[in-house]
């Protein structure tokens, strides 16, 4: 299945309609989710209206982790099977994952300021999320620093695979250590602790973030495919001249 997707021509055909479709779905879901989150969803009995930050913070956190795992799978496929699009997929996903991780950290900081009375605490969840963001930044810096693309892809894939260790640390940090951050309230054994009136807009926003990621990923991958085509055509011309 992965080999089928790894064909650049097939990917360009698929993403030519996949990108506008994902953009439309993200737009519709944001149009439903934003007023739901800001107006219709109830305020929390303890946190008041500051709970509305959750509708940005939680999807950003979920997908920042998911995107990193996606990059890890793509990196592994690039290293082991040398799939033509694997490193392109990982590279195009990285800035989106970094932006989601940064959004999670910033919104979490605002949420912490209003509920905990502090903008930052060197607590296990916050620190491991910051480490995830720094790994994203390091991954992007590595791609920018190494000129030889094949070497850059190999080194970036190794960095990405090494950084996967941090993903379970982020997820389980609230269970493994005493944390200011609340424990998992949705993805936990025993079912969700959240009321449906908050869970529904949260999932709408989460899917909006997901489709935004898909649309941006397709756009980024298409740009990289065009870039490779342009550079190899320029090289062919230079050789012929």
């Amino acid at each position: 299945m992965f080999a089928w997707f790894a064909n650049p021509e097939r990917f360009m055909r698929l993403s030519a309609w996949g990108m506008p479709l994902a953009t439309a779905l993200a737009t519709i879901l944001f149009a439903i989710g934003l007023p739901w989150a800001l107006i219709h969803a109830p305020a929390d009995f303890r946190q008041g209206d500051s709970v509305r930050i959750m509708y940005l913070h939680v999807p950003a956190a979920w997908w920042a982790l998911f995107i990193y795992v996606f990059m890890g799978v793509a990196s592994l496929m690039g290293l082991v099977w040398k799939h033509a699009l694997a490193d392109v997929a990982a590279r195009a996903a990285a800035p989106i994952g970094a932006a989601y991780a940064a959004l999670c950290l910033v919104t979490g900081s605002f949420w912490g300021a209003t509920t905990w009375g502090t903008w930052w605490e060197w607590d296990a969840r916050l620190t491991s999320m910051l480490v995830l963001f720094l790994i994203y930044v390091g991954y992007l810096a590595l791609w920018a620093a190494v000129e030889d693309e094949q070497r850059a892809a190999r080194l970036a894939a190794l960095l990405c695979l090494g950084g996967l260790v941090n993903v379970p640390i982020v997820h389980f940090s609230v269970d493994w250590w005493n944390s200011l951050h609340q424990p998992a309230s949705i993805l936990r054994s025993g079912g969700s602790a959240m009321d449906a009136s908050m869970m529904q807009p949260l999932f709408v926003m989460a899917f909006a973030f997901l489709f935004a990621f898909v649309a941006l990923l397709f756009a980024g991958m298409r740009a990289h495919v065009y870039r490779r085509r342009a550079l190899s055509a320029a090289m062919r011309r230079a050789r012929a001249a």
Binding site: L38, G48, I53, V106, L216, G220, A223, A230
Partner: protein
């Protein structure tokens, strides 16, 4: 409106700016490289 809204608005404004930046970057990159590939591949 209570003072929690000051924090909420800031978060949503930052979220909007984040997505605007991601979209702008994606559109600029895609247009730039598509045009360059078409130009280079022209016989």
């Amino acid at each position: 409106m209570n003072d929690h809204w000051d924090y909420v608005w800031w978060c949503y404004a930052i979220g909007g700016v984040t997505f605007a930046a991601l979209i702008a970057r994606a559109v600029i990159d895609l247009r730039r490289w598509k045009a360059r590939a078409e130009k280079e591949e022209r016989p």
